[in-house]
Structure formats: C-alpha cells, structure tokens
C-alpha cells in the first residue's frame, strides 16, 4: 500500500512537471541554447569562428551562413533574400555606396493547397559592440524552434515563412526590404509575426507584450495565452521589424518581453547582452505561446 501511494505521488509530480508543455517545446530547449550560444560567441561555430557581435558585414554574413545551415538541418530549404538599398538621404548616397544585406528565409509549405502565407521572423544582426544575446538571438531561437515544430505538423492549411532579418539595428533595413519584396511579389500574406527581445523575465510572471496587433491576431494570442497562463500586455506603436510591415499595410503583431511594462533586459545594445543573461525558461514559455498560435493558424 505504501509503495502504491509513493508510485501515485511520483506519477502526480511527474505530470505536474510536464503540464503546460507541448511535446515539441520539451525538445527545443537545448536546440535554442545551442543557437543562442553560437550566435553570441558563447560557443564557437563549426568553423571554429567565434561571433562576438553580428554587426559588421562579414560577421552578419557568417551569422547568415550559420542560420542557413541551421534551417537546412531541420529539413527546410533555406533561401537568401539579398537586397541593395539607398541610404537615408541623398547627401549620404553621394558619400557612400548603397547598403547591402541578406535576409534568410525558408518556406514551410501547406500540406493542403493554399496561397496564404503566415510570416514569422526575427532579426539576427546586433548593435556594434554587443553580442546581442537577448537582442536578438533570443528572437531567432524562438522562430527557429517554432519553424521546426511547424515542419513536423502533419496538417498545415497555410504556408508559413520563417525569416531572419538583417540590419534591424540600422532602421529595420532588412525587414523593410523583405516587406517590399513580399508586396511586389503579390503574395497573399495572412499575417506577420515578429519577435524581438524575448529572453528577460525578472519577475517570473512569463508575461508577454504584444505591440500594435491586428485585431484578429490579438484575440488569437489572448485566448491561447490565457489557456497557457501567460499574462498579456497590449502596447501601441512600432519599435522593431513590425514597423516595416505595418507601414506597408500588413496585418502584423510584434512579440516581446515586457519592454513598456518595465521588466526588460537592462543589457540592450551593451557588451553585457551575453548568453548568461538569457532566461531560457521564459524563452521556452514564449516559444510555446507563438507555436500554439501558429499551430492554430495551420489547422484553421
């Protein structure tokens, strides 16, 4: 009898530990840690190169190459979206060359015929002098894990596009080029979800901020967050890659830690934005939220 009680307790405790986690997210934690570690120089890349920042063009090219290979390793066909754009004004144009950059993206095709695309992404560049762990290796790791799980779904009624934007720190140049390109291509974009700064949760409440969400996205996120016990704060404006898509009229949402609510990384744009400051439990929790939303969009 005593053994039976112990066994029951064991089962109960075990079930509590895994409660709230989808099967996928349990396996993505170590993958996300490795991705953040390699993007921030905590671990060297396969080539032996240590990325201490992702700001200069050669560093961004190395990071892009790594992300391309990472997408391929989960069975996705990674592609490059290379762009060349003008500088901020004519005077700068006359002094300097045009700006060049590369967004990395992969399409996770619908299993049932659809012309709709759900775009989700994060910027992979960092501010000069900063390893950019939370800003924004954390967002990249979130999207990567979501892409992996979406690719494993048996049924997808929409196409999904995971994209890693270049040059967000330079006035969102990369995402603006991507948004422009999507518009020119005439793609039927259902919605755009951008993640930036998703690795800080000092008060441990797992809360997420949703910036300027389209109405239909706001209700979806709120419903799923409520089910997962994640507090949601809605904010206005546009302070990251979501700005590029909002300006072009796409239905957009930006996901981040509590930037306006005060619980955010103090290390942003500093040399101290390192791997050890990332709260991976929070990253995992926010990944789960975004994945559940994507899963719902895939099923409906």
């Amino acid at each position: 009898m005593k053994n039976l009680v112990v066994l029951l307790l064991f089962v109960l405790v075990g079930s509590q530990v895994t409660l709230g986690q989808t099967p996928g997210t349990r396996h993505t934690g170590s993958m996300q840690k490795e991705l953040v570690a390699k993007l921030t120089g905590h671990l060297p890349l396969e080539s032996g190169f240590v990325l201490t920042q992702r700001s200069k063009s050669f560093e961004r090219a190395i990071a892009a190459q790594y992300l391309e290979e990472s997408l391929k390793s989960i069975g996705l066909q990674a592609r490059k979206h290379q762009y060349t754009v003008s500088n901020i004004n004519l005077i700068v144009d006359m002094m300097f060359h045009p700006i060049e950059g590369t967004n990395i993206y992969a399409i996770i095709p619908a299993t049932n015929a659809s012309d709709e695309y759900v775009v989700f992404g994060a910027h992979y560049d960092s501010e000069p002098g900063s390893p950019g762990a939370i800003d924004n290796a954390s967002g990249v790791a979130l999207c990567y894990a979501v892409a992996k799980q979406l690719a494993e779904l048996q049924v997808r009624n929409r196409n999904f596009v995971v994209v890693f934007f270049d040059q967000e720190e330079d006035d969102e140049i990369g995402s603006r080029a991507f948004a422009q390109w999507a518009k020119e291509e005439g793609r039927n974009v259902h919605s755009v979800h951008t993640t930036d700064l998703v690795g800080w949760d000092n008060n441990g409440n797992r809360a997420v901020e949703l910036q300027s969400p389209a109405a239909m996205l706001e209700s979806t996120y709120k419903a799923i967050a409520e089910r997962l016990g994640i507090p949601i704060h809605i904010t206005t404006g546009a302070s990251s890659d979501n700005k590029s898509f909002l300006e072009m009229g796409f239905d957009t949402i930006a996901i981040s830690e509590e930037w306006f609510n005060g619980d955010h990384t103090p290390h942003i744009h500093k040399p101290t934005d390192v791997y050890s400051t990332v709260n991976f439990e929070y990253l995992s929790s926010t990944t789960e939220l975004v994945y559940e939303v994507m899963k719902q969009l895939a099923e409906n």
Binding site: N87, M94, F96, P98, P128, G129
Partner: protein, 121 residues
C-alpha cells in the same frame, strides 16, 4: 616635356568625374535616380564650359567642387571613426582604408587641378 602635352583638362575632368558618374549608375540600378541627376547637374555645365573653350573656368569650378567633396568625405569619415553612437553599422562598415584612399585622391586631384589649371589649359 610639358605636362599639357600628354594630359589635357578634358582627361583630368573626365578621370575625376568618372567615380561620381559610376556612383550615379550604381544607384540607378537600384531605382534611385537622384545621385545620377546630381552628377548630371554638375557635369553638364562643366562640359558646356569646356565646349566653349572656357576650360580654365571649368577646371576652377570643378577643382573647387572636388576639394569640397574630398573635405566633406574626410571630415565625415574621421568624425564617424570616433563617434560610434547612432551611426548605422552599414556606414561604419564602409570606412575602410580604400574609402580613405579614394577620399585623399579626390582631395589631392582637386588641389592639383586648382593649382595647375593655367598650365593645363
């Protein structure tokens, strides 16, 4: 052998003007016509002056413009080397030794043209 026997003002103006025109076309390829427009607005009056045998004036105006262009590039790039905050990484990225060599070349050619303009014509 006199310098003007193998270098004509036309050659020098063309030589120094080429990078500006190349820049104009570089931007034209990405759909921005403004730099080429600026190059044309500057280049056309110079061409007209040379056509009407007013090469000294053309050289004077062009050399002053080149000195101004080189000076602005030099001041801007030197400032950007020390002021990192708020400057786009894409711009910082271009501040390479070759950028400074081009800048010094514009400046040096501008000064050369200004000082030797009478000898060259």
């Amino acid at each position: 052998m006199k310098i003007q026997s193998y270098i004509t003002p036309k050659h020098l103006v063309l030589l120094s003007f080429t990078p500006i025109f190349v820049k104009g076309f570089e931007y034209l390829l990405i759909g921005n016509t403004h730099p080429l427009l600026v190059a044309t607005i500057i280049g056309l009056p110079l061409a007209v002056l040379i056509w009407f045998k007013q090469s000294i004036w053309a050289l004077k105006i062009w050399s002053v413009l080149l000195i101004g262009y080189g000076t602005i590039r030099l001041l801007l790039s030197t400032t950007l080397l020390f002021v990192n905050k708020g400057v786009e990484a894409a711009i910082q990225d271009q501040l390479t030794p070759s950028y400074f060599i081009w800048t010094i070349s514009f400046l040096a050619l501008g000064i050369f043209l200004y000082r030797r303009r009478r000898q060259l014509v």
